[in-house]
């Protein structure tokens, strides 16, 4: 059941690049990453691509296939017709390093700006008690494999480079939600979500949810509840009065 497929792969680096055409063999059951590997082994030994597990678990092989952000290892060739030209390009939101490899350091910088899990003072290791139903909300977000496809697709930074400093993107807003919903986290995270991580930029178009290979409901389960938590607090008259009296909300 082999056939020759037409591939168009972006080749280049930070200075310049182009779409290059290849004709390459495809066998039954293969995924796009298999074809990229075949190109490396037979026609383009220096074609740069990141990958690790080839099982959708590590989130390394993120790219855009026919313009859609996807994992190369989880995109089956059977989803395309034999005649179709398949175009593979690097993630657009991040600076290209070479070919399909991009510089994703933006994400690591943002990760470092989210204060870590903060357990209650004095709670010793081995004494943690949490109900399954209470950990499940955060567990959903911890399924994240950090492929950064949600970051790549989010138009707040995909189309507006200038927003990058002020906006942490769906992955890290979800991380804040994860910690906020952790049954034992005691840190106050809601204000920072709005003021330091740009939660307000998100206008819930759900593009992030659409591209998530782990099918995490980023918008519905993380971002919208987080927005509600921030709004409840910001517009609660008692909280507002308390902040005024106790001079807590300095920047509000």
């Amino acid at each position: 059941m082999s056939y020759k497929a037409n591939f168009r792969v972006w080749r280049g680096d930070v200075d310049s690049g182009e779409l290059r055409d290849y004709t390459v063999e495809v066998n039954e059951g293969e995924v796009v990453l298999d074809i990229i590997h075949r190109l490396q082994a037979t026609q383009a030994p220096d074609l740069a691509v990141r990958w690790n597990c080839k099982a959708g678990k590590c989130g390394s092989c993120s790219a855009e296939i026919n313009g859609r952000p996807r994992l190369l290892c989880m995109t089956r060739m059977s989803t395309f017709s034999a005649e179709e030209t398949i175009t593979v390009t690097p993630m657009r939101t991040f600076p290209v390093v070479r070919d399909l490899v991009t510089d994703v350091s933006f994400n690591y910088t943002k990760a470092r700006q989210v204060p870590s899990f903060t357990p209650p003072e004095g709670l010793k290791a081995g004494e943690y008690r949490m109900e399954q139903v209470d950990v499940e909300r955060s567990q959903e977000f911890r399924k994240c494999i950090e492929c950064f496809l949600c970051q790549n697709t989010c138009h707040v930074i995909r189309d507006f480079e200038d927003n990058k400093p002020a906006f942490s993107g769906p992955r890290y807003l979800m991380r804040i939600a994860e910690l906020d919903m952790h049954p034992l986290d005691v840190a106050d995270r809601q204000k920072a979500a709005q003021e330091e991580h740009g939660l307000g930029y998100c206008n819930i178009t759900k593009c992030c949810t659409d591209v998530c290979p782990e099918h995490i409901k980023i918008t519905d389960n993380a971002l919208i509840p987080m927005k509600e938590r921030v709004a409840d607090r910001k517009y609660d008259p008692l909280v507002w009065l308390g902040d005024k009296i106790l001079r807590r909300g300095k920047t509000q």
């Binding site: 680096d13 066998n27 039954e28 059951g29 293969e30 995924v31 298999d34 490396q40 082994a41 030994p45 220096d46 074609l47 740069a48 691509v49 990141r50 990958w51 690790n52 597990c53 080839k54 099982a55 959708g56 678990k57 590590c58 989130g59 390394s60 989880m74 089956r76 390093v97 070479r98 070919d99 490899v101 994703v104 690591y108 990760a111 470092r112 204060p115 870590s116 899990f117 357990p119 709670l123 290791a125 081995g126 943690y128 008690r129 949490m130 109900e131 399954q132 950990v135 955060s138 567990q139 911890r142 399924k143 994240c144 494999i145 950090e146 910690l179 952790h182 986290d185 099918h215």
Partner: protein, 645 residues
């Protein structure tokens, strides 16, 4: 003479999986300036692939569990070849290492009373594996990654620089350890640093450090059908060997019984043992649960004899014995291999693994979400409605760098430590599922701790990295660019994988292994001529040409040791020597680098006898299955109560 980028640290950890990150956290918490060097992006290490869980005798689900029971299970699983001191430390410290993860933000699945839930797994007497669905490895990596970020946030607050005391150098490959002769150490070598290249730019980099922790994982990429990622090219094993350390037990390679067999492009990808732990059964093309025919004598009393008893065990484990689907991995892998050979396999050359007729669909989706997802996306199989097709896949190497069991220091090289899969001894001839993640945490921490202690004792004393070694390493690394067009590194790699798979695989024969050694010599010669085109910037062909040296060296260790050991035990099955021999249990095969630098020598070592109080944890009748008469304790100890449950 080459001018290269240099960084200076107290402790450099190579590898950013579970063991490497835990080692780095420990070294940094001991006050050392610590660097982590890893081939992939931070947080992508192979540990994310671990599915089932972390074995630790917390006793949350069955309070009969304790470290002694875990120790016994580990020794049995490894057929008593394990370094007993490592198995002891591992069983004792695993619970603390798991609980510690919770304080760093890990969210394990819970019991009804709010504690960490624990699941059943092959070879473990009680439910013992802390888990998060079937993505426990991801939780482990993310938690350690986030702990490193937390430490960096502390440093940012204190020094204004998040990387002041802990920095991750990602997408860098180390190709040589740098050493100087040292009259104080046994082998006469002492660590001064490591040489490598940035994958992105191809530029060289030197890390100066008196202590290095190797945590680079395994060797699976030398085999064709494997659950391992591209990173598993035996780097740490080869680096240690070339620096003067020994590799032990390299003949023991674990073939996980259940890898995907179809479609071809995903052949080898892991199907978690939790499928069986949660009730999944193995059947052949005749619909028979064949594992009942494959219970070996040493395990006869511990496994159910009938399907009815095995099925009752899931709900009433105190009064029934476990089903044989949960035998240690080596037994199950061999059984599947035999069934397929006997013509009772599936259309794609595996056997059936069925959970659809055993659990309701919603329970399968909740307990095995990644498996459900993986089969649906990659094979068009809905595991809630139909069986999976599975077969053995190269999964783990039990052998590895010889280390001191307490400190993780390599006896041969002062300042060199190793932890995790790259280290040998802990798992003997076969590793139990769930004992890998706990191994990473227990010995990762120990490696970081003792590396830090060693550097603290050194004070300000540092040795310079020798320039001639840097120059030689640089020349070696650019070698493939001077061999333009001679040999395709991808072809050499494919032939290596085929050779190891066919000739040093799950069932081994003398003639085939001798043939493999011959082919490895030819492949070595071809690998030296491997040429690459293009430039050094993110060039995968070049990276592979460099990695070939490590894969070939490690493959030679495996084939040589496997040829030498004329018995079958755990992850080493000889068709021509099917029995297990008590005399061979007293032999550890160690590989060292030969004087010519391109081959390995094999030497026999005698393991230290097990301490009396640990021997006393076993019944005499069981010890007789493994030990020579001379090794048996003179008086038979009385069996602890829980043994008979």
């Amino acid at each position: 003479m080459s001018e290269v980028e240099r960084h200076s640290y107290d402790v450099v950890v190579i590898g950013a999986g579970g063991a490497g990150l835990r080692a780095a956290i420990e070294a940094r918490m001991q006050g050392m300036r610590t660097a982590v060097v890893c081939k992939s992006l931070f947080g992508k290490a192979h540990t994310v692939m671990a599915e089932g869980g972390i074995a630790a005798s917390m006793g949350n689900v069955n309070s009969n569990d304790n470290w002694q029971v875990h120790f016994r299970d580990t020794m049995r699983g490894g057929k008593f070849l394990n370094h007993w001191r490592m198995a002891e430390l591992h069983a004792q410290e695993a619970p603390d290492r798991v609980w510690e993860l919770e304080t760093w933000g890990a969210l394990f699945d819970r019991t009804k009373d709010g504690r960490i839930s624990q699941r059943n797994f092959g070879g473990h007497e009680y439910p013992r594996l802390a888990h998060v669905g079937d993505r426990t490895g991801l939780e482990l990596i993310r938690t350690l990654q986030q702990k490193i970020v937390a430490l960096q946030q502390e440093d940012e607050a204190e020094f204004g620089d998040p990387e002041a005391r802990l920095k991750v150098f990602q997408e860098a490959t180390v190709t040589r350890l740098l050493t100087v002769p040292d009259s104080g150490s046994e082998a006469g070598n002492r660590i001064t640093g490591a040489f490598g290249y940035w994958r992105e730019s191809g530029r060289f980099v030197v890390f100066e450090a008196p202590a290095i922790v190797l945590a680079t994982g395994g060797i699976g990429k030398s085999f064709k059908v494997t659950s391992n990622s591209w990173e598993y090219t035996g780097d740490g094993q080869a680096l240690a060997l070339m620096a003067g350390a020994s590799l032990i037990n390299m003949e023991f390679v674990q073939f996980h019984p259940t890898g995907m067999v179809w479609p071809p492009s995903v052949k080898g990808i892991l199907v978690t043992e939790s499928v069986r732990g949660d009730g999944g059964v193995l059947t052949n093309s005749e619909g028979k649960r064949f594992m009942f025919d494959y219970i070996p004598d040493v395990f006869k009393e511990k496994y159910a004899k009938t399907e009815e008893e095995g099925d009752r065990w899931y709900t009433d484990p105190d009064n029934n014995r476990r089903p044989p689907e949960l035998l240690p991995r080596d037994e199950v892998a061999r059984a599947i291999n035999s069934e397929v050979k006997a013509g009772r396999g599936t259309p794609h050359g595996g056997v059936y693994l069925d959970v659809s007729s055993r659990l309701p669909a919603d329970v399968i989706r909740r307990k095995l979400p990644s498996m459900h997802h993986q089969f649906k996306e990659l094979a068009d199989v809905d595991i809630t409605a139909e069986p999976m097709e599975v077969g053995p896949t190269c999964h783990y190497v039990m052998g590895g760098i010889e280390v001191d069991p307490d400190t993780a220091a390599t006896p041969g090289v002062l300042g060199l430590y190793a932890a995790g899969e790259v280290a040998g001894g802990m798992h003997g001839s076969n590793r139990l599922g769930g004992n890998s993640l706990s191994d990473l945490l227990v010995f990762g921490r120990r490696a970081g701790l003792y590396a830090a202690e060693y550097v603290a004792e050194l004070g300000d004393e540092r040795r310079d990295v020798p320039q001639d070694q840097i120059d030689a390493a640089a020349a070696e690394a650019v070698g493939p660019f001077n061999n333009e067009g001679a040999e395709n590194p991808y072809s050499v790699h494919q032939e290596l994988q085929q050779t190891m798979n066919d000739l040093v695989g799950i069932i081994r024969r003398e003639g085939e292994m001798a043939e493999a050694l011959g082919r490895l010599e030819e492949l070595k010669a071809r690998a030296e001529k491997a040429g690459v085109e293009g430039h050094r910037q993110y060039n995968p062909g070049w990276h592979l040409a460099i990695d070939l040296r490590n894969m070939l060296l490690v493959s030679e260790c495996i084939a040589k040791a496997a040829l030498e050991r004329t018995e079958s035990r755990g992850g080493h099955t000889r068709e021509d020597h099917p029995g297990m021999s008590a005399d061979w249990r007293k032999v550890v095969l160690a590989c060292t680098l030969a004087d010519d630098g391109g081959h390995v020598d094999l030497v026999r070592r005698t393991p230290e006898p097990m301490r009396g109080d640990l021997l006393a944890l076993f019944e005499l009748d069981e010890l007789k299955k493994y030990l020579t008469d001379a090794e048996l304790p003179s008086a038979a100890p009385s069996a602890p109560d829980e043994e008979t449950n």
